[in-house]
Symmetry: C2
Subunit: 718 residues, 2 copies
């Protein structure tokens, strides 16, 4: 039963345009990233970088300084830079968009060229410093203090010091022994494998031994004869890799190893240097992911000095962030925790050996990002959901006392970029009716100046109505947010087919108060073709707190589907929705949800399209999978409950399954084993694969994919 | 333009049944092998074996001798056999159907048990001889004279002599070094790798070194973690394997090797022992397949003694048969050749060192099989197309003089089984209106006695009209044979969709004068669903002679399609065919033809289903591919002409491509690279794969496959 009374509808005013014949129709190329005309359909933007507290506009052809009167003063242009580079034998740049300004007081631009890193002095039009690079580098990490560069080449890690000398950190690198790269499959907030000390004199790096991890045999069909390209893929319950942390000193060419003890079935994350470059802190999490320890190491000897903190949880603990030391008090650092059920910031004192304060509280909702610290006001500049579960707003929160300053306009989704001293904030934001605004904010006063308000890039197009609201979850209590896209040229007296677009997994939400409630381009396209599209963030999804998320523990899929069916009840209650023509579509976790919904409610959904789905969690990897599902050995019922192969015989409607043939995330075994199970059970899914593509289709393939998905619904749902 | 005047229609009388409401409808299970009810829908059959010149019925539960008065006299039954086997500790048999009678004068039945080979004396109900087998054997080859058995175990070849001793022929067997197995990918008529001397004292065997052949990475998704299962697959123009022939003597445990010279890029086939077990003959064919030599070796030393014969051809020579020595004159043997443009038999004299006679001539059409020799009448008993290009009839042809005796009834397709002395012939045959007859024929007189005339197993079913006729090929001259299946309950005033089922490749024909013109069960099913089905054997297909076949040389697909389009013209000329609803379906070479026709005539075919297609001949294997296409290096234009990836952008109608995920024949690279090419070109094929299946789907998968194919045509052609 739908509680219509409790329904709150936000209708997007911008989109309430009366359909007119002269308005244009969208193409998929207009609507999807990778489309030929996509960029031209986007709201205007600004590329900027901070130079100390001053804002620099870094455009393709030139860099210009923002003046107090609001004007832009030219600093230098691409031709000038390239003339100097050419004279030095360095490959010319195509754009200045990625220019950085590492030294607040110096007129130095850091330029990352193909074969060199340079510091360009724009006052005298000369290179202040350069470092020529060898060929074939992958990951690169530059330290602006020592001007040393760490990089990977052919599976080994090197440091190029400012004097141009290359130092080999490792020599036995291989696909089995990985140095200086991201580990643990990018879970636990990890996205890189090198960590410079603040003084740039030592490099902490990950080493990952995955020789004991099984290969998954991906196949490259683009070679003359197809070639196996195996990847190391630790599946749930199987042997996992072992990670250790080294500290390399280019002055001695020696590495010391952090003495963590046995690293079998252990995760290490949150690597943080002390401000004085003498200590290293990191989190150790057990494989079961329910016991987290914060350790301190001596960076010079590798000795473990202290265990600072422990956090356990009956389900799981999820460290996603390192520590942030206070610039005004190096005894203290900020750490993140969900221990009260929501992501918050806490203050820890090394001297006291304990947490001394909770910095954020429920006025902040959940903290999404710690942008930095303002050392004058002694406050943390954060992004959080304090004003609405579907917004991100920027707050200044005093670190050592109870004070919150709201920095932004209070609506929409804000993305901040802070100066290193925390005094100035660039705020790029959108709201349901605002395509993009860019404001410059003083964090001590919240005084704000608008730099850019974009025109609506779609003003000549026939736009469907997009609205948002809430409905109650299957638990009868929790508010869930949805987005509803009505058909273009909507006629309330007609009956329309409706498609549920679903993700449903952790760490993602699909409905937020950004432009058009974070519509996906394809939804606009389907609205144009006469479909209702409905999107609901079920329990288990992101930024609603730990209990909202971990209700799915040990049986991913079950609670999520119950909530999605509440959304279906709502859809069916709409007079203009034809309940006999309901479709469902999703990718990845959403592909899993799509197949699961088709098999669990075969009389509800007439047609579905699942992309890159999980079919059997035992084929998914250890880090993500075991957090939510434990192992197949310790949770056999849970793995069986949503093993979709076991219910392949339930398929009744039309189901298209699509996967990237070289998907290293949801490996092809998922989809292929489901197809096999259906064949054995006598049911008939449809199939497509994109050879050469990974977990998601990009560029022109993304357009092709959505043409294909659209055609499937047009064939079988219309 | 269709030359309707020249059209000959044979309408199948049996099928001209007026539709009646009470007649049953077929299910796919009724119509396709692998279906649950398929066996019960088949015409009655007889399992037999020769005991000297006497016929024995080998039924599941008993063996019975055919008496002159037409009655069957029981010889022994399964219980008697199993009682003896059990007493000897040998696993019991489930059926006597495969019983052989190796000695004409002795009451001995050769039984192949799971763990033993035995000779059972049914007079005294005892085992005359037994040989217990080790476990894990693959190929087995028994010689009835020495009672020695050759077999493969774990990649090595062994001989078990009658005394129970096992002799290792090889020790270094592996997937790279293969002993005693079929070589050259079963081309050139090769289907085994061991050849006993007539006296059973020496074993000639193939050894294949494929260490230099590239692996193709097939993937088994049924294991806990998917596993690569690479196969050695030499693609056109790439490095091929090297084959040699050994002769193993179990008395000395020594192997001598036939001194062929350098075996790089050479094929060896037609291995034949001389009747006195002292010589071995074989054909050597060069990789270009246009130069064939017949060589004689001393079996004791391996020395090459003579080159007996050479045959060249500007396109290709295709040896498919070994030699047959005359029992009455061991100086002479019969060999096969297409040197006059049709497969015929020739007589060669070793003393004369040359061909002394052409045995068969154009009265025989093409010779299809040499069943054996009658030593009393000195004639060869053959199967041939002498009476009609779409029949197989049994002739007795005098070997040394010009005399032909027609042995069978002159209609239909006959399959003969001859006694070893050639005097008696069991003739199993069908014709368009005869489901099956079995006759016993004296080959000296052609006197015939009918043993079985089956009832029509379909008498209670509603059967569509199946007819056959000819039309002119695209060359304007050659007659091509077609089969036409009209919709069940045909109404000439209606317009029906029509599907072309196509194969089109060499060494196969689809239309013959057997029951229902060799209908495929699926055609009956589609007729029942209201489709016309049309099948045409184009130029390039089987048993019409070399020029009919090799017109396709160096550009497989091109001429074949021209002929198929003549068939389409014919279809369009039929008043009841809706030319706007033409479909096409085929598998393997027929899959290639289907995709090619869809891309070449995008406005003709609205819908197609291609299975296990060749997409690019450079992905096909050396032996078959290079015979017709030469290599990608020597024939780049030909490879490009029908490389379907290059025309993926032409796709307009609906095309479903299906492949066995573990297909070692048309490897997955074909279909996957085509899908990729379509995606890049912006066209939209559909896809299905059967993980675990190879080139063809069997059993329940075959039913599922045809349900899927049918659904596709119902979705997009109906």
């Amino acid at each position: 039963m739908i509680r219509i009374k409790q329904l709150v509808i936000f209708v997007l005013p911008l989109f309430c345009v009366t359909a007119m014949a002269q308005l244009k129709q969208f193409t998929l190329d207009d609507l999807l990233s990778g489309g030929k005309t996509y960029e031209s359909m986007q709201a205007e933007n600004l590329h900027t970088a901070w130079w100390g507290n001053q804002l620099v506009k870094t455009e393709e052809k030139e860099c210009a300084l923002h003046l107090k009167n609001g004007e832009w003063k030219d600093l230098f242009n691409l031709s000038e830079v390239n003339a100097v580079l050419k004279a030095e034998g360095i490959e010319e740049l195509k754009s200045l968009k990625n220019t950085k300004f590492p030294e607040a007081e110096q007129p130095l631009a850091y330029l990352s060229c193909k074969n060199a890193k340079v510091l360009f002095n724009w006052k005298i039009k000369k290179l202040e410093w350069k470092s020529l690079l060898p060929e074939g580098l992958s990951w690169e990490d530059w330290n602006s203090v020592s001007r040393s560069l760490a990089y990977n080449r052919e599976n080994n890690l090197y440091v190029l010091t400012a004097d141009g000398k290359e130092h080999a950190v490792s020599e036995d690198g291989s696909r089995e022994m990985v140095y200086g790269q991201s580990v643990h499959r990018d879970e636990f907030g990890i996205n890189k494998g090198t960590f410079w000390s603040p003084d740039g004199r030592r490099l902490c790096f990950y080493k990952m031994d995955q020789s004991m991890v099984s290969d998954y045999p991906l196949v490259d069909i683009s070679t003359r004869i197809a070639t196996e390209v195996p990847i190391k893929y630790p599946m749930a319950g199987e042997k996992s890799h072992r990670v250790s942390m080294g500290v390399f000193n280019p002055e001695t060419n020696k590495t010391v190893w952090l003495q963590t003890g046995d690293n079998t079935d252990q995760y290490y994350t949150g690597i943080t240097w002390s401000p004085d470059s003498r200590k290293i802190f990191l989190y150790n999490l057990n494989r079961d992911q329910n016991d987290l320890r914060l350790w301190q190491f001596d960076a010079q000897t590798g000795q473990k000095e202290k265990e600072l903190y422990e956090e356990t949880h009956p389900k799981y603990v999820q460290p996603e962030h390192g520590l942030t030391f206070l610039p005004w008090d190096t005894d203290k650092f900020i750490y993140w925790s969900e221990k009260d059920g929501f992501a918050h910031l806490y203050l820890y004192s090394l001297k006291a050996g304990k947490t001394v304060r909770k910095i954020t509280d429920n006025r902040c909702g959940v903290v999404v990002e710690l942008l930095g610290l303002n050392k004058n006001t002694k406050s943390a500049i954060i992004s959080c959901t304090g004003l609405s579960p579907i917004q991100h707003n920027l707050f200044s929160v005093a670190v050592e006392k109870d004070k919150i300053l709201y920095l932004d306009a209070g609506k929409g989704v804000h993305e901040g970029n802070l100066t290193s001293d925390g005094s100035m904030l660039l705020d790029k934001w959108t709201s349901p009716e605002v395509p993009r605004k860019i404001d410059l904010i003083q964090t001590n006063t919240s005084r704000s100046k608008n730099l850019l308000t974009t025109q609506n890039p779609w003003k000549n197009y026939n736009i469907p109505e997009i609205s948002s609201g809430t409905l109650k979850a299957a638990d009868g209590q929790t508010d869930l947010y949805y987005r509803l896209v009505k058909p273009t040229n909507f006629d309330p007296h007609k009956k329309y087919p409706a498609i549920v677009y679903v993700y449903g997994g952790p760490h993602t939400r699909l409905v937020e108060a950004s432009f058009g409630y974070m519509y996906r381009g394809w939804e606009i396209y389907m609205a144009q073709k006469g479909y209702v599209v409905f999107v609901l963030d079920n329990r288990g999804s992101n930024e609603r707190g730990l209990n909202f998320e971990n209700v799915t523990f040990r049986h991913l899929g079950t609670e999520e589907m119950k909530d999605q069916m509440k959304g279906v009840d709502f859809l069916k209650s709409l007079s203009y929705v034809d309940a006999s023509r309901l479709g469902v579509h999703g990718w990845s976790f959403g592909g899993f949800m799509t197949v699961n919904l088709m098999l669990t409610y075969p009389d509800v959904f007439k047609c579905g399209v699942a992309g890159g789905p999980v079919i059997d969690w035992s084929y998914y990897e250890v880090m993500y999978g075991e957090r939510y599902m434990d192992t197949p050995q310790t949770n056999p019922e849970g793995y069986q409950e949503n093993n979709l192969k076991l219910r392949a015989g339930n398929l009744k409607g039309r189901l298209l399954v699509i996967f990237g043939y070289n998907d290293p995330v949801c490996v092809p075994q998922h989809t292929l084993s489901f197809i096999r199970a259906c064949e054995t059970a006598g049911t008939h899914p449809d199939l497509l694969t994109y050879p050469g593509d990974e977990h998601n289709m990009q560029g022109a393939d993304r357009i092709h994919l959505h043409e294909h998905i659209t055609r499937y619904f047009e064939d079988f749902l219309k």
